[in-house]
């Protein structure tokens, strides 16, 4: 399958490096609004063609578009790819809201092309080890879990952080997809959502270079507290925040009927999975036996390519990504409306990854 990448910014190198490792696909073209940037990536990663996004979309030889544009362009560029009869795999989030996401999924269905979406970190060794251990009953049935993604925001290191506090950003939409996708991978879809969200500081100061001292207007909640009820019965506390200086909570802890598990940071592929059954005094580290413990952005694309060939569902699916956006939006809606929200979307729990991974070159 021939892949074209639109968007040659910060995340493109990871994809370009990893995609060359998989069987059955080749990166045929890279595109960017800034064609010079596309040309530079093409040279760096030996891609045969560098062009404009329009040219890439009109190229009949491209079967699948990898969409690495900024969040607000994800759905519009995705729609163009679908209209051109191409499969599309987007970075997260699928869209800025569920309306954009639903439109894209519907358009793809009508055109009989597939939609895939990051994160694919959840296909990495860390989360897959946790999934395998839960499936094997190592902690019994999951009853509850906690997840904390809390910092004081990226404005002290990111050179241009204004977009982080604009619509489509904030701690929930920026980092939430990793956590919600991880839980869907471990437990399945979400049944009901409640939450409380707050803009703690209406303005924030940039303290990184080169824009030190500039004030940013905050358009999205920066402290978001959610409680997610999963169809499986598990109840999950999820807090994402850019207003916390220090805390001492684990990233993700799952509490089951027979034990507890600490799950690695879902914004990575490896990490450590720890388990303690109730009759055990100490935590045990589980060995990571699955493939893809290093930065493997692109696995989701490779799985999608293989799935198309094998006529099976792909794991990092548009349906799941839409459910992720729906759930995140529901947390904020619940807070604003003063009632729990039942998502109108759902998705299947993605299949677990085989230990040996996908076929490689």
């Amino acid at each position: 399958m021939r892949i074209g990448i639109i968007g040659c910014g910060n995340i493109a190198p990871a994809y370009l490096t990893n995609l060359t490792r998989f069987d059955g696909l080749t990166v045929a073209a890279v595109a960017d609004l800034d064609v010079e940037r596309a040309k530079a990536r093409a040279t760096e990663f030996k891609v045969p063609r560098a062009c404009t996004p329009g040219e890439l979309l009109r190229d009949d030889d491209i079967d699948l578009v990898v969409n690495l544009t900024i969040p607000k362009a994800h759905a519009p560029v995705g729609m163009l790819a679908v209209k051109a009869g191409k499969h599309v795999y987007s970075e997260k989030p699928l869209g800025l809201d569920r309306v954009e996401g639903k439109k894209l999924i519907a358009a793809a269905k009508a055109k009989r092309v597939r939609v895939g979406c990051a994160p694919d970190t959840v296909l990495g060794a860390g989360i897959q080890c946790a999934r395998a251990a839960i499936d094997a009953g190592s902690i019994g049935k999951p009853v509850a879990a906690t997840a904390f993604m809390m910092s004081h925001g990226p404005e002290n290191w990111h050179p241009d952080p204004t977009f982080v506090y604009a619509r489509g950003g904030g701690p929930l939409f920026d980092m939430g997809p990793y956590y919600v996708a991880a839980f869907i991978t471990l437990f399945g879809p979400v049944k009901r959502v409640t939450g409380s969200a707050r803009i703690t500081f209406p303005k924030r100061m940039i303290t990184s270079k080169p824009k030190y001292g500039q004030m940013m207007k905050v358009e999205v909640p920066t402290h978001v507290v959610g409680v997610l009820e999963f169809a499986s019965g598990a109840v999950v506390n999820l807090i994402t925040s850019f207003d916390v200086w220090h805390h001492s909570l684990p990233n993700i802890e799952v509490h089951g009927t027979e034990g507890s598990m600490q799950v690695p940071d879902p914004n990575g592929f490896g990490g450590t999975v720890r388990v303690r059954r109730h009759d055990e005094a100490a935590w045990r580290d589980l060995p990571l036996v699955h493939r893809y413990a290093d930065n493997g952005r692109g696995i989701g694309v490779a799985d999608m390519v293989a799935a198309i060939r094998e006529k099976r569902p792909h794991r990092a699916s548009g349906e799941m990504a839409l459910h992720v956006v729906d759930v995140m939006q529901a947390i904020v809606d619940a807070s604003a409306k003063g009632r729990h929200i039942t998502p109108t979307t759902t998705c299947k729990q993605p299949a677990a990854m085989p230990v040996e991974g996908l076929a490689a070159r």
């Binding site: 109840v235 916390v244 509490h255």
Partner: protein, 364 residues
């Protein structure tokens, strides 16, 4: 002239009160009573209390001013109303009542009679919570933005000799242990404005593994996992999760995050514990020494404070108003899950006065 105190209910928790109060000359344990008078007599002998008697005899004694109500939760309000009718101030173990309706009945009756209502927990008057209160008041972590509170366990049926009541109306993890956490949070942050909650009954049946009822099955009538979000009037958003379904975990008791740092608050079911602080610019969490550690900081501090408050004509800290707000919150969390609606609370309370550093127990 010491304040005369009577105790009704000489069961498991009574010794803690007897042991604390007998050390303070500001109060006198004048009498103790129980439905089982022999039990009252045994306690009286054990703790050197002059009079053991029936409940009616205790309530008829004109010298007694405050009555500590250590009956079972479903009797708290009924006995409290009797105490009020006798013209005495009730101080009850937690919870204030099984629901808002009966809690309100007690507060209204007391108001009409011109007597005060006090309620446990008074653990928050101990140096653990109070050291945290002073740190917050002094601005150590700035304005509190958010936090978490966790009470997660596997239930009490592995050790309590008769645990069925934990799984019946008025039971469950929030009504059982929630008062400690809510009272601590209100002591630190003030009252709560709105809540949303999620509840679940994870297991329809539980198995008693303690003596003497080992092997008996309990039918579960109440939620056993309650995850709530508390929106404080101050703006802080705190999650409180209580569960009887989680056998092991590493969650801290209470952690608060402010604009100038983070604070780890000790277990509110105790008087002391470890306080840890990490200010914004600091690299590590540091243990903070507790303020005002004194002997006999145990259950009963709230009664001493109430006796002093009556004398000094000021508000007492472990108040019925605070306990009612706690009850309102707990009921609201359950209602919210069932209805799918957030609940804006109709009750409120004042943040209780901080304990004064260096003050002896009786002069608070």
């Amino acid at each position: 002239m010491p304040t005369n105190i009577g105790i009704i209910g000489c069961g498991n928790i009574a010794p803690a009160y007897f042991n604390t109060l007998r050390h303070f000359s500001e109060v006198k344990l004048a009498a103790c009573a129980d439905m089982d008078v022999a039990r009252a007599q045994a306690r009286a002998k054990e703790f050197g209390v002059a009079k053991a008697c029936s409940v009616d005899e205790l309530l008829a004694d004109p010298a007694i001013e405050i009555v500590i109500n250590l009956t079972i939760p479903k009797a708290h309000v009924a006995v409290g109303l009797q105490i009020v009718a006798a013209g005495k101030h009730p101080y009850s173990e937690k919870p204030l009542g099984l629901d808002r309706a009966e809690g309100k009945k007690l507060l209204d009756a007391a108001k009409a009679k011109g007597v005060r209502v006090g309620s446990a927990p008074d653990t928050v008057l101990g140096p653990g919570t109070q050291t945290c209160r002073k740190l917050i008041d002094d601005g150590a972590i700035g304005t509190v933005v958010g936090g978490t509170a966790f009470m997660l366990c596997s239930g009490h049926e592995s050790w309590h000799p008769d645990p069925a009541f934990y799984y019946q109306k008025g039971g469950g993890p929030m009504f059982d242990m929630g008062p400690y956490y809510l009272t601590s949070l209100i002591t630190l942050l003030g009252p709560v404005k709105r809540v949303t909650g999620v509840t679940r009954t994870t297991h329809a049946e539980r198995l008693i593994t303690s003596a003497p009822k080992k092997g008996t099955k309990i039918t579960v009538d109440v939620p056993t996992h309650v995850a709530g979000i508390l929106e404080f009037a101050s703006g802080a958003i705190v999650t409180l999760t209580t569960s009887f379904d989680v056998p092991s975990h590493t969650m801290p008791n209470i952690e608060l995050w402010g604009t100038a740092g983070g604070l780890s608050v000790p277990d509110p079911n105790g008087f002391a514990g470890t306080v840890r602080l990490r200010k914004r610019e600091e690299q590590d969490w540091k243990d903070v020494p507790l303020n005002n550690v004194q002997p006999h900081q145990e259950r009963g501090m709230g009664v001493l404070d109430m006796a002093a408050a009556i004398r000094e004509k000021r508000a007492h800290r472990a108040s019925g108003e605070l306990a009612y707000h706690v009850l309102d919150i707990m009921q609201a969390l359950h209602e919210s899950s069932a209805s799918g609606q957030f609940v804006t609370l109709t009750s409120t309370c004042a943040k209780p006065e901080a304990m004064k550093a260096g003050a002896a127990q009786g002069a608070l």
